[in-house]
Each structure stands twice: as structure tokens, then as C-alpha cells.
Amino acid sequence: MPLLAVHGYASEFFKAGSTLSFVTNSVLVALVVLGLVLWFSRKATKNMTLIPHKAQNFFEFIVEFLYNQVEGIVGPKVAPRTFPLLATIFIYILVSNWFGLLPGIGTIGWGEGTGFLSVKEVHDPLLRPPTADLNMTFGLSVSMFLVWLYVTISEVGVWGFIVHTFGPKGGLKGLMGAIVALVFLFVGVVEVFSILFRPITLSFRLFGNILAGENVLHTMSGMGGFIGSILAPFPFYFMELLVGILQAIVFTLLCAVYIQLSTTHDDHGHEEAHH
């Protein structure tokens, strides 16, 4: 029995090397999610009124809640610029994660045929959650990294970022100041490595959690015959619902915290500089 019930990679619909080789089952689901988001956002914002209709009310609740959370982390100054991206990340990841829990995702596809419209085991599923594809999670984290870099530089400047990363804190002078400066220089180097690894940690955390969930559900679905395949994965669906929203929160929260950490002005240092 293979270690993973679900492949670690998305299946291509077209043969490798062709122009359309990028069209994978996760890309297909990502497009479906895109359509869903488009449909619902249009439905929610069509004929908007001061007294909201149901869809508008629901979307307003989500947007207001997310905006308050983002504003609480990155601050009121940076929030208007970063909110659309952070909220998009949250909604996109959440919808993608939960979409993967729908029946048929990962269980309808191609494999060794055993009869009419029947396979022994699905090797190439028709649909795969986008968040169970490293290309998607890595794409998200790289996009986020670039936005983080842009916001940071536009907020504190290149020199400000360098000072913020490598500059000594505490205002010590003399021999102690020199020692502390060396320590902070070393910490800055470590920080740079940490920053560079953020896209990797972010993407693998999300990808790993969702792929693991998919594997758990697939494994449980293959246990105990027909009844077992229904009952065994049942509790894990609730867990995966939780994991789905948790991972969306973790990804978004970390991105917001990264932005907050790099755009926070060192007021204490500024005060000292003024003195």
C-alpha cells in the first residue's frame, strides 16, 4: 500500500510538455472557486441598499469582521492598502479548503477500470482542492511576499528596513553598545534568512495540512466496506472543516503579522534620534 492515498501533486489533463500542461485538476477547481467567488460577490453587491438584503448582509458581515481584524493587527494606516489582499487570501483559501470536502472531489477520476464508469482506484482525480497543490500555495505565498516587500519599502523605505532589521535597539553606548550592535547585526542576518524562508514555510504549512486531510479522508473512505466508507470518515469531515478555517486564519494572520512587524515605526528610536 502506498504511503499516500492521494498523490502529492496535481494531475495534468494534457500530456506533459504540451502547451496546456498547466491545466491540472487543481487549476480546474481553482477556476470553479474563482467562478463561485465571482457569482457570490456579484450577488451580494448587486442592487445594494442601506437596509441590506440577505447576501449583502452576509458579505458585509464577513468584510467588516475581516477589516476589523486586519486593522487590529497592521494598524489603521496600513489596513486600507493591505486589507483587500489579506481578505482575498482568507476567502480564497477558506473556499478552496472547504470545496475539497465536497463529495466527488478526489474520488471521481481515472484509474484502472473494473467496469462501466467504475475504477479499482482513482489515480488521477478529476478535481483536487487548489490548496492541496504546492503550486497554488507557493504562488500565494510568493505573491504575499512581494506585496509584503512593496508595502514595507513604501512604508519605511529601504534604509528604514535595513535599520529596522540590523540596527541595534536599546540605545546603549560605548563598549556595551558595540557588543549589542554586533549581536543585532547577527540577529538581522538570521532575520533575513527567516524572511526569505517565509514563502516556503507558509506554502508547505498550508499544503501539508490540506494534503494530509485529503489523505485521512481517502484512507477512512476505503475502510470497512460500504457502510464503513460512510461512517469512518464522518468525524474527520468535522475536523477537516475546522482545519480548513484554521489554516485560512493561520496563513492570513501570519501575513498580517509579517506586515505589521516590518511596517511598525520604531518610535522609541525616533525619540532618541530627536534628542
Binding site: 498547466f22 487549476v27 477556476l31 442601506l50 468584510v63
Partner: protein, 173 residues
């Protein structure tokens, strides 16, 4: 370095990392971002701001209405107070005027009464005098008549005049 590169390639292979798929996912994400920003976040944040503004305006209007109501109540109270003061003043003026009028009338009445009394006195005096003169004349005549009867003498005019004068003097005394 080559070892790290090899591991990276192996990971990429195991998990199906490929530039084309990577960019396809990035493009889809950018599309989701654009759609949400244009059709959801923009209009909804604008609507929330509009609602917030409306609530703030409503609150401001409520405060203004409450202030206006308080001012109106204050003005109404001031008008009522002024009206009450005016009414009290006018009542006092009317009262004073009535008292003055009453006093004047009373004085007039007293004066009228005094005049009437004086006139009555005068009339009484006159009547008394007339009565006394009549009485004197009658008494004189009676005395003269009695004297003539007693004496059997016809009294002349001088006698009668003297008797009348003496009688009148004795009656007056």
C-alpha cells in the same frame, strides 16, 4: 550547494512544482483578488462607510433636535414667565386703578354728601328762620290781640309795632 539544489529539484518533482502551473495559479489568484476588490470589498466598504456616516449624521441630528427641544422648552418657559409677570403687573395695575377709582368715588360721594348736608342745613336754617319770623309775627299778633281784648283798647300801628318788637325780642331770647 549541489546537494541542496538536488533536494530542491526532488521536492519540486515530488510535489509537481512547475513554472507553468505556478503562474496559472498566481493568475487565478490575481483574478480572484481583482474580482473581490472590484465587486466586493470596494462597494461593501463604501456601503459600510455610507451607513456609518448616515448613523453619525442621524446621531448629530438627534443631538441637534434634543438641543433645539431644550432651547424651545427654555424659550417657552421664558415666555410663560414673562406672560405671568406681565399678567401680575397688569393685575396689580388694575387693582391699583380700581383702588384709586374707588377712593376717588368715595371722596366724590363724601363731597356730594357734605354738599347735600350743607344744603339741607341751609334749607333747615332758612325754614327755621321763616318759621321763627312767622312765629314771631303770629305771636305778636296774638299778644296784640290779647292786649287789645284785655285793655279794650284799639291798638294803633305804633302800639302794635312796639308790642310786636317786644314780643319778638322776648321770643328770640
Amino acid at each position: 550547494m549541489d546537494q541542496i539544489k538536488g533536494i530542491a529539484y526532488q521536492i519540486a518533482g515530488d510535489f509537481g512544482l512547475a513554472w507553468a502551473k505556478f503562474f496559472a495559479q498566481v493568475i487565478i489568484f490575481i483574478a480572484v483578488y481583482t474580482i473581490l476588490k472590484k465587486y466586493a470589498f470596494g462597494p461593501i466598504l463604501a456601503m459600510l462607510e455610507q451607513r456609518r456616516q448616515r448613523i453619525a449624521d442621524g446621531e448629530a441630528k438627534l443631538e441637534k433636535i434634543a438641543k433645539d427641544a431644550a432651547d424651545a422648552a427654555k424659550n417657552a418657559q421664558a415666555i410663560v414667565d414673562k406672560a405671568e409677570a406681565d399678567a401680575a403687573r397688569r393685575i396689580k395695575e388694575a387693582d391699583d386703578a380700581a383702588k384709586a377709582l374707588q377712593e376717588r368715588r368715595q371722596q366724590d360721594a363724601v363731597a356730594s354728601a357734605n354738599t347735600i348736608i350743607a344744603k339741607a342745613r341751609e334749607a333747615a336754617e332758612l325754614e327755621k328762620e321763616q318759621f321763627m319770623s312767622q312765629l314771631k309775627r303770629e305771636f305778636g299778633r296774638m299778644v296784640a290781640d290779647a292786649t287789645s281784648r284785655v285793655t279794650g283798647k284799639v291798638l294803633n300801628t305804633d302800639d302794635q309795632t312796639r308790642i310786636n318788637q317786644e314780643t319778638a325780642a322776648q321770643v328770640s331770647a
